[in-house]
Amino acid sequence: MAGQTPWQTTGPFFHFGLPWKGGADLTGDSELGARKDLIQPGHDYGVTATSGMRAHTIGERIEIFGHVWDNKGAPIVDCLIELWQANAAGRYAHPEDTREDVAPDPAFIGFGRTASDRQGGYRFRTIKPGRVPGPGNSLQAPHIALGLMGPGFLKRLATRVYFPSASENAEDPILGLVPEERRSTLIAVRAPESPSLYRFDIRLGGAGETVFFDI
């Protein structure tokens, strides 16, 4: 038996290696995701994702965007954010998701990564995921898993983005674990500009503190 390797922070300088160009665009060929402005000339390490298949992803195109604030209300301008989600039919691109009645999408991996900007803002381009099974015979509401890391974070913070659908969310077994008055912190808000834009702000403290999960 061996013991778990302890977590350590990313430190402040992860931008030159971790958020790659295109890492935050799961459905297109843009370079969304990397902070090229922070890299010394001659050391532009970030590669563009190599797959040209992303544009063939099946599903409703959406953008998840928002800001990240620390527990004093200051923007987190150097947050590393990761995303993991199912495809539009609700299937994960993973060998342990063996449900044959739910179609895989070879164009969609479902993983993304980005870094927040100078104002603490972030943005992902992806598709709206389908529903996936939960514990027992339950069905989870459409959701996206997010992980937050960065300087000062000794460990990852895990949360979930849900969508504004009262009936599906009411059935969700994970949302059901959250005290009712805090559930709205996990539900993205449709932006008035476009039905495909969802705002999801992340607060580590204060009014509307986002719920994080111990998984």
């Binding site: 778990q4 960065g150 674990l177």
Partner: protein
């Protein structure tokens, strides 16, 4: 019906707290309320996996950090190798190990790093290697330098290499730092000290004569241990 096989929980005796006051930056970046314990569903036990997934996402592996530019970087050439295992001692294959480090002078190729030490045009300090079927990994780099930082008075980070490990499960993410044996700065470091004893020693590499190559490079061994997994599915 049977549900997904969950991974073990975080070992509180081995992991740092979210806020560790001696590491000042952690205080404002911990949530005020404790995380809510949730079961692992299909969402948490899945993650980027399968043949070629890392190449599709990020491009090919980069396992020699000393050959990314026209010339060789300045510094002491080292070979870092080891295994990715789970708590049950089983190898964990196809794990993406991302590598980040300062150069031999203790400087990062980052616009915000203002340490008065030279950049090295032949060293970027970023790479990635994927664990093989036996969980093994190996890469070549130079030993990073120590550097000062803003925390306590006259604070210096011990020489270290940052690692990010990601594999088949969202639940099983790991970001850590590897330190070098015998470093006098290790015991003074607020980030390393956030890890409780005796688990703190797990983030120190071991000098290894067997992987040292004569007249070429020193070898260090460092194993990563991810959360284990029960052998049998949980009944719901």
């Amino acid at each position: 019906m049977t549900g997904p096989v969950p991974y073990a929980r975080e070992d509180k005796a081995a992991q740092p707290p979210l806020a560790f006051p001696a590491f000042k930056a952690s205080v404002a970046r911990a949530p005020s309320q404790p995380p809510i314990r949730a079961p692992q569903t299909l969402t948490e036990i899945t993650g980027p996996s399968g043949e070629g997934v890392w190449e599709r996402l990020m491009g090919p592996a980069l396992t020699d950090l000393t050959r990314q530019h026209r010339g060789e970087p300045v510094g002491e050439r080292i070979i870092v190798s080891g295994r990715v295992l789970d708590e049950n001692g089983r190898p964990v294959p196809n794990t993406m190990i991302e590598i980040l480090q300062a150069n031999a002078a203790g400087r990062y190729v980052h616009q915000y790093d203002q340490h008065d030490a030279p950049l090295d045009e032949n060293f970027t300090g970023a790479g990635r290697v994927i664990s093989d079927a036996g969980g093994n990994y190996r890469f070549i780099t130079i030993k990073p330098g120590a550097y000062p930082w803003y925390n306590q008075r006259n604070a210096w980070r011990p020489a270290h290499i940052h690692f990010s490990l990601m594999g088949a499960a969202f639940a099983n993410r790991l970001i850590t730092q590897m330190y070098f044996p015998g470093d006098p700065l290790f015991g003074l470091d607020a980030i390393a000290n956030a890890v409780p004893e005796p688990a703190r020693e797990r983030i120190v590499a071991r000098f290894d004569p067997d992987t040292t190559e004569p007249f070429w490079a020193l070898g260090y061994r460092f194993d990563f241990v991810l959360r284990g997994r029960d052998a049998t599915p949980m009944e719901h």
